[in-house]
């Protein structure tokens, strides 16, 4: 039984924490939060690239470190803990994973090295409006290699160089690579609940699009990319929920009411115990997702769904009850609680809402049962 990080992985995780403790403090996050013109922390992005994290799971032949996905999970956990304001997920969990999953040799050879080298920001564009995009309402369309349509919201769409776009071609849904600096692309940055992460509306009018993966497989590939991203995002969520529990505990230990610390009141103690329980269940489910992702197990879809459901629930609970534990202070802009409250919603929505994943999980249970 070997169901935990290895010593090497723990070392990597610890190094990541040290780096982020220095380069991604609350002040770094707030710089992006408070400046509407700033979509991400470019210095941190460079630093993360220099650490090799962008290519951690990219094979060495494509310029990456060729580490396993568990190593990437360890990094993700630390990025989530630090509330990092960078397009890491869009670039690494979505774009790079999509390329590794469905890219041709040429596509991989062209783009993966750029990602590993920190020369490229990615985006993954599926949504076109409120609710889940599906075969019946997908509007984006490719004709003769030219994409027309509107994608909204696209996380990091305003700063991305290359997007993976879900669109129909000849009536068949597919994924397409689109260079966003090219002609026929208009981008508008949007206000969101989490200003530390950037979001755009992208309008395509005849933008050059190259298919990624097979024709007709657009939704299946999207789900497969979401499965991979869900596991990695679950570790970001876990890092965030752990941090919320820490913050709540630290505050409660140091805040006095009626002559003693509020950490001694059962209402607070049991609230924090509930946080702990949810975080540990989320951790265990996330680990299983990491294992499934790492070895390419058949269990990945159900493991990813369970990881996403557990970590979304844990982070929501921890982030809102962290505010509550801080009382009035927690409701101020000056205290960091709301950074995590915002990020918990960003992470819960960016790969589709938890309710969608619960449905996917049960479909997997039905399939398993039928098999």
């Amino acid at each position: 039984m070997n169901f935990d990080y290895s010593d090497d992985q723990k070392f990597l995780k610890n190094e990541a924490r040290k780096f982020l403790d220095g380069n991604c403090t609350s002040a770094h996050v707030r710089k992006v939060l408070d400046n509407a013109d700033l979509s991400y922390d470019a210095d941190l992005w460079k630093g993360v690239g220099a650490q090799g994290w962008l290519g951690a799971a990219i094979p060495e032949e494509h310029g990456g470190l060729g580490l396993g996905r568990v190593e990437l999970c360890a990094i993700a956990e630390e990025l989530g803990r630090a509330c990092a304001p960078i397009p890491f997920a869009s670039t690494v969990y979505f774009l790079a994973e999509a390329l590794m999953l469905a890219g041709s040799d040429a596509q991989k050879a062209k783009w993966l090295p750029k990602i590993a080298a920190g020369e490229l920001i990615g985006a993954f564009a599926t949504s076109e409006g409120p609710g889940v995009v599906n075969a019946a309402n997908l509007q984006a369309n490719v004709v003769g290699g030219k994409l027309t349509g509107v994608k909204i919201p696209v996380t990091d769409g305003d700063i991305a160089d290359l997007a993976v776009v879900l669109a129909n071609e000849g009536g068949k849904p597919g994924l397409f690579l689109v260079e966003l600096a090219g002609a026929g692309v208009t981008r508008e940055t949007l206000k969101t609940l989490d200003p530390t992460r950037s979001v755009a509306k992208i309008s395509f009018s005849g933008a050059a699009a190259e298919r990624l993966g097979d024709a007709g497989e657009g939704f299946a590939l999207t789900e497969a990319v979401f499965d991979r991203a869900a596991v990695l995002l679950a570790f970001e969520q876990l890092g965030g929920s752990d941090r919320c529990l820490e913050m709540a505990k630290d505050y409660a230990m140091d805040r006095y009411a009626f002559g003693r610390t509020i950490a001694g009141y059962q209402a607070i103690k049991h609230k924090l115990a509930d946080m702990y329980v949810k975080n540990e269940l989320a951790r265990s489910n996330a680990y299983f997702g990491a294992w499934a992702l790492n070895v390419g197990a058949a269990e990945l879809p159900i493991a990813a769904a369970a990881a996403r459901v557990a970590s979304s629930e844990a982070y929501w609970f921890a982030s809102k009850e962290n505010v509550q534990t801080h009382g009035g202070m927690g409701f101020t802009w000056a205290v960091d609680c709301h950074l995590y409250y915002r990020r918990s919603r960003q992470l819960a929505l960016v790969a589709g809402a938890p309710k969608v994943w619960k449905e996917r999980l049960v479909q997997q249970l039905e399939r398993r049962n039928a098999a």
Binding site: Y256, R260, T332
Partner: protein, 404 residues
Amino acid sequence: MDFNDSPEEAAFRIEVRTWLEANAPKKVDTKKMSEPEILKLAKAWQATKAAARFTCMTWPEALGGRGATPIQNVIYNQEESKFDVPRGFFDIGLGMCVPTVMAFANDETKQRFVAPAVRGEEIWCQLFSEPSAGSDVAGLRTRAVKDGDDWVINGQKVWTSGAHYCDFGILLVRTNPDVPKHKGLTMFWIDMKAPGVEVRPIHQMSGGSNFNEVYFTDLRINDSQRLGAVGDGWKVALVTLMNERLAVGGSTGPNYAEIMALARSTVTEDGNALANDAFREKLADWYVQAEGLKLTRFRTMTALSRGQTPGPESSIGKIISANQLQDLSNSAMELEDQFGIITDTAIAPMEAAFQQSLMWAPGLRIAGGTDEILKNIIAERVLGLPGDVRVDKDVAFKDMPTGR
């Protein structure tokens, strides 16, 4: 059981409605107005109401009221709420501060302040909470030191609604740190425009600034501004806080009807999101809670209508409504899926009402008593369970352990 007015209540309702129709100002779009502009309208409307004795209605006639019954007050408010008049600026002053002044000030002070406050010419705020004294207000640290006939005050208050437009305030301070905390407090009234008083808005996590910090730097006031005896501040404050329950209004924000509309307009593979059974069960739960709260208020009004004191059921409101607002807002965002993160009011469904309430709801769970404090209150005052073990009862304030 019915929901009808008694004949007397019905007659009064007609009187009120008739007066409102004749006197209420025309609807104006306050969304585009500045706060001072809205305040001006509000003061004018308050003066009109005061002249007709439709404000402070339950007070005696001599103080500007009309000796009305509590249910008459409810009826007036029900009818006024159908008109689009400016509201909210005077509630804390007239509901909590001025009654404290009336109870503890000398005749001269009362004559000076009560009438202008009733007419809306002067507004009052309440200065109790401090950064280190939230749920435990009596743990406050702002110091007042006697200097001849004066007191010199230094310290900081927080979460003061309206401090930036208020003229006067009632201020609770520590005058003796050598006795247990409840015994060393004294209450004063102060001029908010006096030198030594500085008001700074608090930037909330929701983005807005509905509250203030108020700093006191060598604020000098005369002993004649004292309300109640030296050291009796906690008793005076309890009078103020007893009135708080009546001043706290219902919650605002989207409810089951709005999220039902959102679901109906959200297209899914099977039709719309309102067809989803999981959503439907949640919707039923929200409806049952929201209706339960509304109907509980009817029970409170029934008690008033019967000349009885309302039962403790009125204490359940905020716990339920604040948590429901947070839950419902989050569910609405999840309905929108990826799109739910967008807060741009021109793009997000329902002008981003759910996204806004998600950011506001955490404050609602804290302001005016946290969930935890309210449950303590229900447990202790309603159910009669014992209070917490108190380690601070007999310790001199200066010897109490403190943190942040």
